[in-house]
């Protein structure tokens, strides 16, 4: 089998050719219009767009729909490709939600590691004041790339968990729209490549928030960044449509909404945000894109156009911040709601006790999602927006603490008096709770206007944000990886290596986040390449040393996990179908899960988390053949 017959490779080649074709097309059109034929910016925009679309066509994401367009019906493909080795299905358009879930997870882990590498690079630069090995430009580029690549990685991680687990947890055959599901994943590949390749055309130096006017005037790298985010955003939207329809329509008999595993509730709430808010980051980036390409004055007040003498000048950068944060604040709830739901999912298994306050936890996810739409301007307290907006947004922000508090009560209530076991996933769940507590307690400090003012744009914000992301996503995600690893591969991971990973990463992360907050209070500003060594009575450098060493320790832990997973897939001991004695449907079927997950229809007959209740049953599977 030649490498070039692999659909992913075909896609990559098509993306390159599509980019070149788009640039040529732009040049020809400009020449026909009588303009100077070559202009780099529009050529790159059209080229990047066509390249991304070409990837999707060449990989085969549109194959079935193209058939439908000419009136042919296509049956849903099942199983590995007939003419190629089975592993190639992971590099092809495959319609099985389990394959797509793995694709999301692996590509997500790759992006998380790439994003982490950018962070390690600029963290090393920050070890000492003065510039050592990164130029100022590259430093700014790495800051932005760290942010957006991590966000992409997190979105993919969320997509991976949701796609793999939701149909299994519901007892459904697959997602509602398998073809859309595959397209949703493949959007991410050209999207991420566009973002990473922006470094080749000058990069972009405004940080991942891409605020104009800087982003409206900087190098061409911005355009690739905007388009890359647009592609990943499309993935979020079609993925959310798919998950919402699956959750609402694909539940088997007896699976009422309040009998769904709590993780499904988390995904439901997250999908509501992804479905709606994502449009706004797409729109805001698209508006800067056309502002740069066609001179449309949405945001840059100083934009000079030919009609300027006749009409009013350019636009208003504050508008961009409103549109941008309307997505980008709820986005953090997209990241954490599935993570917090993993905590709720795993705690009862390892405490052998019902989840405390199931309905309240389920509804708290929805409450966070809804309140999350009303808090965006707390990112803008010092931006120069209408000051009258500050206090309402402050109160709305503090309101988020209520449903989040419900979750904490539930976790404590579930642990309380439980028969606790501590394998690696449980350790990561407890680590998540401890880290999320740090992030949660520092939230109100930043959400309150008077304390926000001095701390705004300081490293204190960086510390708070990373604690919420690690507590709300990274720790639960790792817990989920360890927990469902035996279900995916059929083998157990190495427990000792898992525990070393945990005991390395958790103290390192505490040191990192508390260190970031400390240097922030000393006066360290975020996104700045250099600092005054006299800050904090000369203690600031010590702080940066601690943060950087902790960062490398976390990275080492992650590598250990990857090694563990790769190695254990071959030598790990066979796990059996239900090593954790879980009640959830996915553990009642063989590991690894067969191509058609459930051999027989699933019926839900009881409550999901009645651990420790004698004789209680959650799901029942009809014997094969008996309908």
């Amino acid at each position: 089998m030649s490498l070039f017959s692999l659909p992913a490779v075909k896609g990559l080649i098509a993306q390159i050719l599509g980019t070149i074709a788009g640039m040529a097309l732009t040049t020809v059109i400009r020449a026909l219009m009588g303009l100077p034929a070559w202009k780099a910016e529009p050529a790159w925009v059209v080229g990047a767009l066509l390249g991304g679309v070409a990837f999707l066509f060449a990989v085969g994401a549109f194959d079935d729909w193209l058939q439908w367009m000419v009136g042919k019906e296509t049956p849903l493909r099942h199983g590995p490709p007939p003419d190629r080795p089975a592993w190639t299905r992971y590099f092809s358009v495959d319609y099985n939600h389990k394959v797509i879930g793995i694709q999301y997870t692996v590509w997500g882990l790759f992006l998380l590691m790439a994003g982490g590498t950018f962070a390690l690079a600029f963290r090393t630069e920050l070890l000492r004041s003065g510039m050592q090995f990164l130029g100022l430009e590259l430093f700014n580029n790495f800051i932005g790339l760290h942010g957006i690549v991590m966000i992409g990685g997190i979105l993919l991680g969320v997509g991976g968990m949701a796609n793999y687990l939701v149909p299994l947890m519901l007892g459904a055959e697959d997602m509602a729209f398998p073809r859309l599901n595959a397209l949703g994943f493949w959007f991410n590949v050209p999207g991420a490549l566009l973002i990473l390749s922006s470094l080749l055309v000058g990069g972009w130096d405004a940080g991942w928030t891409g605020y104009p006017p800087l982003s409206a005037r900087g190098p061409i790298g911005y355009q690739l960044f905007f388009l890359g985010v647009y592609f990943i955003g499309l993935s979020s939207i079609v993925g959310a449509v798919n998950l919402l329809v699956t959750i609402l329509h694909m539940r088997p008999k007896g699976m009422s909404l309040f009998r769904m595993p709590i993780f499904v509730w988390g995904v439901f709430a997250t999908s509501l945000i992804q479905l709606t808010a994502t449009q706004l980051i797409g729109l805001s980036f698209l508006m800067v894109l056309v502002e740069r390409t066609l001179g449309m004055g949405f945001f840059d007040p100083g934009l000079a156009g030919p009609g300027k003498a006749l009409l009013e000048g350019g636009g208003d950068p504050i508008l961009f911040q409103h549109l941008f944060w309307f997505y980008s604040h709820p986005a953090v709830y997209i990241f954490i709601l599935p993570g917090l739901a993993v905590i709720g999912e795993l705690l009862p298994v390892f405490a052998r006790k019902p989840l405390f306050g199931y309905k309240w936890v389920a509804l708290s996810s929805l409450a966070i999602a809804l309140v999350g739409f009303l808090v965006w301007a707390h990112h803008m307290f010092v931006s120069g927006m209408n000051p009258g907006l500050r206090v309402p947004f402050m109160f709305a922000t503090l309101l988020v603490a209520v449903p989040t508090g419900v979750k904490f009560f539930s976790w404590v209530g579930t642990i309380w008096g439980g028969k606790l076991h501590f394998p690696t996933p449980m350790l990561f769940v407890l680590g998540a709770i401890s880290v999320f507590l740090i992030g949660g307690l520092t939230g109100p400090i930043l959400g309150t206007v008077p304390t926000n003012m001095p701390l705004h744009d300081s490293y204190f914000v960086v510390g708070h944000f990373h604690a919420t992301m690690f507590g709300g996503f990274v720790f639960p995600f790792f817990a989920a990886l360890y927990f469902w690893y035996p279900k995916v591969t059929g083998r157990m991971y190495n427990e000792t290596l898992g525990k070393i990973h945990f005991w390395l990463m958790t103290p390192a992360f505490w040191a990192q986040t508390l260190g970031q907050m400390t240097v922030g209070v000393m006066g360290m500003r975020r996104r700045i390449a250099d600092y005054d060594p006299a800050l904090g009575n000369g203690m600031i450098q010590a702080g940066h040393v601690v943060i950087t060493i902790a960062g490398f320790a976390i990275a080492f832990g992650v590598l250990l996990m990857i090694y563990n997973f790769i190695r254990s897939a071959e030598v790990g001991k066979v796990a059996g179908s239900n090593p954790w004695r879980s009640r959830s449907p996915e553990w009642q079927i063989p590991s690894p899960v067969p191509e058609h997950s459930f051999a027989a229809p699933v019926t839900v007959v009881g409550e999901p988390y009645d651990y420790g209740l004698a004789g209680s049953t959650y799901v029942r599977m009809a014997a094969a053949g008996d309908d």
Binding site: A240, L280, V290, L294, F298, G305, L310, L311
Partner: protein
């Protein structure tokens, strides 16, 4: 009906149920994008706290709006026709809708965009071209969708029981029409005229 036919029928009904919900969720999503554009319009077209608008060709606005509204009638006629297996009115309804859609597009792209405001003319150009451009893209995709449906309909696809493609196309067309019902007053009617 044999049991196999029953189960195929069931699976079509199930898919139809999923498709309908999926399409409506997509509209909810799109509503946020169009809503963002409307928000930008009311944020940027404002002078000293008063909502303003540029002077646009009122006759043109009225004509394209009427054409688009009229097209929705023919779309509905086409969908109703196929639901009654009336192939003739189904196909002609689609063609008339596509034609009216193209008239609308011509009105916007040739006449509106050819007017005195250009995209680079500050906030007026930006918002006008941003809103009409995004809407025109949707109209264009709707016309292409209609033509694909027409092409397949002509070859004998779709029936009274099975015409999800037609239904989706019709709802999409009405949705794009509905968006314009919000955009038209925002661009042409609301606010004090300046420039």
């Amino acid at each position: 009906m044999s049991s196999v036919a029953v189960s195929i029928h069931e699976s079509y009904r199930e898919k139809l149920r999923n498709n309908r919900l999926g399409l409506w969720l997509f509209f909810v999503s799109e509503a946020f994008m169009f809503g963002g554009l409307l928000a930008a319009r009311f944020y940027l077209w404002r002078e000293d706290g008063v909502v303003v608008r540029p002077a646009l060709d009122q006759q043109l606005g009225l004509i394209v709006t009427s054409v688009l509204l009229l097209s929705s009638y023919f779309m509905n006629r086409a969908e109703t026709a196929i639901a009654h297996d009336d192939r003739e009115n189904f196909l002609s309804g689609l063609l008339i809708t596509a034609f009216l859609g193209l008239v609308f597009l011509a009105g916007v792209v040739i006449f509106e965009w050819g007017g005195h405001i250009k995209p680079w003319d500050g906030v007026f150009g930006a918002v006008l071209f941003g809103m009409t451009g995004m809407h025109a893209l949707h109209v264009l995709s709707g016309v292409i969708f209609i033509l694909i449906i027409w092409w397949n309909g002509r070859k004998g696809h779709f029936s009274a029981d099975r015409h999800w493609g037609v239904e989706a196309c019709a709802i999409y067309w009405h949705y794009v029409d509905l968006v314009w019902i919000f955009f038209y007053p925002a661009l042409y009617l609301i606010g004090r005229v300046v420039h």
